[in-house]
């Protein structure tokens, strides 16, 4: 009987300790994601879906957001684009000149025309970027420390990809990121701070 009691005591104490530890991890103050992190992002020059070219040099002075995705994406890409559309709209005039770049990780299927139709069905401030070949895509992903990988499915393929929305400041440096798990308030306050910082 005593052994049983002891076992029970140990079990319950471990549960208590685990719970406390997890609560601490959940509730402890987060490091500020608004501080610049070296090494994410860098210069790029990519064809935009509207036929123009987007050169990061010409973006200097204007903060922007950037996302890696593809149109054959059932959930994460449309959800992220819908959320940032809602965030941009919620911030009103502040985001008039703000741009979100959607870099396709599937340039084989995502033609400029298709990407334009896709992003256009969300918001005109979302601009599709189409790397011209595998090398250009790989360099872009490396610079943003993003991952993408082609994965076979029975009928074709899909793409694994980093699903972060990168926030880049006016100098083209990493400012922070937006996450689907965050509330609209949190995301919008980050966007606000980014635009205010310039």
């Amino acid at each position: 009987m005593n052994t049983l009691k002891l076992v029970r005591l140990v079990a319950w104490s471990s549960i208590a300790i685990l719970t406390a530890a997890m609560l601490y991890l959940l509730l402890a103050p987060k490091p500020d994601s608004g501080s610049g992190v070296a090494g994410i992002g860098g210069p790029f020059r990519l064809a935009a879906a509207d036929g123009s070219t987007v050169d990061s040099e010409q973006l200097k002075g204007r903060p922007f957001a950037l996302f890696f995705g593809f149109t054959h994406c059932p959930d994460v890409c449309p959800t992220s684009m819908l959320e940032i559309t809602n965030d941009l709209n919620a911030l009103g005039d502040l985001t008039k000149a703000f741009r979100v770049y959607f870099v396709t990780v599937d340039p084989a299927r995502d033609t400029a025309a298709l990407l334009k139709e896709y992003t256009g069905s969300f918001d005109p401030r979302i601009v599709g970027l189409v790397p011209k070949d595998e090398q250009e895509l790989a360099a872009m992903a490396r610079s943003y420390r993003a991952i993408y990988r082609k994965v076979e499915t029975p009928s074709g393929y899909t793409m694994d990809h980093t699903a972060t929305i990168y926030l880049m400041d006016a100098k083209g440096e990493f400012f922070g990121s937006l996450d689907s798990k965050e509330t609209p308030e949190v995301r919008q306050s980050k966007l606000k701070r980014l635009i205010a910082k310039g």
Partner: protein, 180 residues
């Protein structure tokens, strides 16, 4: 593997997942309002999908499948009127990376189990969409189970941001067996 998330945030996320899994019972009762279908011992609640963005060639189909029988069954495929191909997939986030895989041997529904197909998780993958899906419409399809066979269902198309099937079932009465 490179990832954007600092270790702390990842730890936080897994802690949250753990806590969540401790706090929420494994199977929640199915809502009583859902439109449902029966195939043998299987009960399929509220198949739904989302309106698609312009040019999109894929979409996910979602529902809850409950196995009231004594034997395990598998969802192995299906059809969808608006798409050429249907596959059974699993999606998950792994360190900030979206990963999607085809379930080569289908999705097992164990006896007494309720499996939810939902955004960010298991889904029926509609591939080669022949047209866009519009909010408010219903699209016919079939689900194919290893044992229970084929069953005709209708997917309700929700808005693009829907996280779950809508509660409004006024628009589609009259199919599926009533729930006991």
């Amino acid at each position: 593997m490179t990832t954007l998330l600092p270790g702390r945030a990842r730890l936080r996320a897994s802690a949250f997942a753990l806590l969540f899994s401790l706090a929420v019972p494994a199977s929640l009762p199915a809502p009583a309002f859902a439109h449902d279908y029966k195939a043998g011992d299987l009960q399929i609640d509220h198949p739904w999908s989302r309106a698609t963005p312009g040019g999109a060639k894929v979409a996910g189909g979602f529902m809850t499948i409950r196995n009231n029988g004594r034997d395990s069954d598998r969802l192995v495929g299906g059809t969808f009127d608006a798409s050429g191909i249907v596959e059974i997939h699993e999606m998950k986030m792994d360190g900030g990376v979206m990963k999607m895989r085809a379930l080569e041997i289908g999705l097992e529904i164990k006896p007494g189990q309720s499996v939810e197909l939902k955004p960010g998780g298991y889904h029926v993958m509609f591939i080669d969409l022949k047209r866009s899906l519009k909010e408010g419409e219903s699209v016919k399809g079939e689900l194919v189970f290893e044992k229970a066979g084929r069953i005709a269902v209708e997917y309700k198309i929700e808005n693009r941001g829907a996280k779950s099937g809508s509660d409004d079932h006024g628009a589609h009465k009259g199919h599926g067996a009533p729930k006991s």
